[in-house]
C-alpha cells in the first residue's frame, strides 16, 4: 500500500503537482485573494476589526472624487514619476555607455554606483536628512560658504519635492545602470569595429548602434521603473511624512494614512484603486504594443 502511494507520487507527471503546490497555494492566498478582496473592500466602510457601516456601495468612490487630498496625492505621484523616471534612465544610459569596457576603473565605479541599493530607505533618509539639515547639515553649510544662504531643503514646498526625487534617483540609478550595462555588453562587437572603420565617432556609435539595439531593455526598464515610481512610499515616510503642506504626499502614502493611521480600511482600499487603475493602464498599453510588434 505504502509502496503504491510512493510509486504513484514518484511519477514525474504526478510529483510535479507536489512541487508546485506550495507556491501556487501561497500565491493564491496571499496575492490573488487579496487582489480580489481589494475590490470588495473598496465598497465597504470598516476598520481593521471589520467593524463599521458595512456595505456602502459607491460611497467611498464618491467621497474619493471629492477628496482634495487624494487629487493632490495623485498629482504628486504623477509629477514624481514624470521627473524621476526619465532622470534616472538618462543617467543610467549615460553611465552605462561610459562604463561598458571591462577595465579596472570601470569595475570600481560600477561597484560604487551600486552601493546605495543595499541601503534601506531609513538609512538613506537619515543620511540625507542630516546632510541637508537646515542648521548643522554639511551641504547647507557648504552652500552658505559659496554665498547661498538660508536654504531649507526639507521644509520648503516646491524644493522638498525635488529633494525626494533626488534621493530616489540617488538610491536606485545603479539598478538602471547595471541593467543597461549588461544589455550593452551583449551588443556584437563587430558592429562597432565596422563603424570604427567607417570613421564613426564614439558618440555617433552610441546613438546609432547601441541605443537601437538595446531598445527592448530600455522599454523594460521604463515600464518597471514607472510602476515602481508610482508606488513611492518608503522615502516619503522616512523623510518628510508627506510635508511640507502635503507637497510630497504621494498616493500610496495617502492610502497608508487613511487605512492605517485613521483606521479606515474600506476608504483606503478605494484610494488604492486609483493607483491600481493607473498601473493597469500602463501595463496593458505596454504589453499590447509588445504583442503587436512581435506579430
Amino acid at each position: 500500500m505504502v509502496g503504491k502511494i510512493k510509486a504513484f507520487w514518484n511519477k514525474p507527471s504526478h510529483v510535479a503537482y507536489l512541487f508546485v503546490m506550495p507556491v501556487v497555494l501561497l500565491l493564491i492566498v496571499f496575492r490573488i485573494l487579496p487582489m480580489i478582496a481589494a475590490f470588495v473592500c473598496s465598497f465597504f466602510d470598516m476598520d481593521m476589526f471589520l467593524v463599521g457601516k458595512g456595505f456602502v456601495g459607491f460611497d467611498n468612490f464618491a467621497e474619493a472624487f471629492r477628496d482634495k487630498r487624494l487629487w493632490n496625492g495623485l498629482w504628486v505621484t504623477l509629477k514624481f514619476t514624470m521627473v524621476e523616471v526619465p532622470l534616472q534612465m538618462l543617467i543610467g544610459l549615460a553611465l552605462a555607455g561610459l562604463l561598458t569596457k571591462n577595465r579596472l576603473r570601470n569595475r570600481f565605479f560600477r561597484a560604487v554606483y551600486f552601493m546605495p541599493i543595499v541601503c534601506s530607505a531609513t538609512a538613506v533618509a537619515i543620511m540625507w536628512r542630516m546632510f541637508l539639515h537646515s542648521n548643522v547639515g554639511m551641504m547647507t553649510y557648504w552652500l552658505e560658504c559659496i554665498g547661498i544662504k538660508g536654504v531649507n531643503f526639507l521644509n520648503t514646498p516646491g524644493l522638498t519635492f525635488y529633494v525626494i526625487v533626488f534621493m530616489s534617483v540617488w538610491r536606485s540609478f545603479g539598478i538602471s545602470t547595471v541593467i543597461f550595462l549588461s544589455a550593452m555588453q551583449n551588443v556584437p562587437r563587430e558592429l562597432y569595429e565596422s563603424a570604427e572603420l567607417d570613421g564613426c565617432s564614439k558618440i555617433r556609435q552610441f546613438f546609432s548602434i547601441t541605443l537601437p539595439l538595446i531598445k527592448e531593455t530600455i522599454a523594460f526598464v521604463l515600464i518597471t521603473r514607472l510602476i515602481g515610481s508610482l508606488q513611492i512610499f518608503d522615502l516619503v515616510l522616512t523623510t518628510t511624512e508627506g510635508g511640507p503642506n502635503y507637497s510630497t504626499e504621494t498616493l500610496v502614502y495617502y492610502t497608508y494614512v487613511r487605512a492605517f493611521s485613521n483606521n479606515r480600511m474600506g476608504y483606503g482600499s478605494a484610494v488604492s484603486m486609483f493607483l491600481f487603475a493607473i498601473i493597469l493602464v500602463i501595463t496593458v498599453v505596454f504589453y499590447a504594443r509588445l504583442y503587436r510588434e512581435e506579430k
Partner: protein, 276 residues
Amino acid sequence: MHKKTKDRLTDLFITLILFAVALLIIVPMVWITICAFRPQKELMQYPPQFFTSNFTLQNFTEIARRIKIWGYVKNSVVYCLASTIPSVFLNSLAGYAFARLSFKGKNVLFIMILATMMIPFQVIMVPLFLEVYKMGMYDTFAGLIVPNLGAAITVFMTRAAFSMLPRELEEAARIDGLSEFGIFGRIMLPLVKPTIVTVIVLGINGAWNDLMWPLLITSNTNMRTVTNGLAMFIDSSLQYGTAFAGAFISICPMFVLYIFGQKYFVEGTASSGLKG
C-alpha cells in the same frame, strides 16, 4: 600622436565625470560613518565639520539605551533568514517542476504565477493586512514571513536556470533509482548554485530593507525590525548622534553582504531585468 593625446584627454574627462558621480555617493556615506562615532555635542556645533579627531562609542550606547536596537537587529536577522531560505527552497522546487517536468495545466499555472508579479503590493496591502490579522498572525514572526514566501520572480529565475541543464541528467538519475525529489535535491539544485545564491542574496537584502510590511503587521516594539524600528525612532525624536549610529548599524550588515556578494547582486539585478 595627435590622436593619442586627444584620446587620453577624453579618457581623463570621462574619468572626472565618473569620479564626480562617485563622490555624490561616497561623501555622504563617509560622513555618516564619521558622525556615528563622533561626540553628540560636536554634531550640534556650527559650523559643521566634515572630519573629526574625537572618536567615541557614546552614540551606540545611547541608542541602545533609548530603543532595543540589538533586539531589532535580531528580529531583522530572523526575518531575513526565515523568509529567504524556505522561500528559495519552495520557489526553486516549483521552478524546477516548470522547467523539467511535464504535467497537465502546466502553462495555465505558470501564467497564473507570472500574473501575480504584476500585482502591486501597495494595492493589496490593506486586504492582505486584514487577512493576516484575521488569521491571528498579527505581531508574530509567522505574519511577517509566511505572506512573502511565495515569490514569482524566484520561480521565474530558477526555472530559467534549470532549463539550461542537459536533458540526459535526470534520465541517468532515474535509471540509478533516485526518487524525483532526490533528483531535484541531490543533482539539479547543486548545479544551479549561482542562481540560488543570487536569489538568496537578493532575498536577504530585500527583507532587511523591507519597510512597509513590518510596519503594517507589527506594533509591539519587541517585534520591530531595524529598518522599521529606526523609521519609528527618527520619527519620534531626531537625536542626531543616535540617528547616525542607527543608520550605521542598519547599513553595516548589508554592506558586508555587498562586499562579499557583489557579483550576485549585480548578476541578479541584470538578469531579472534582461529576461523581461
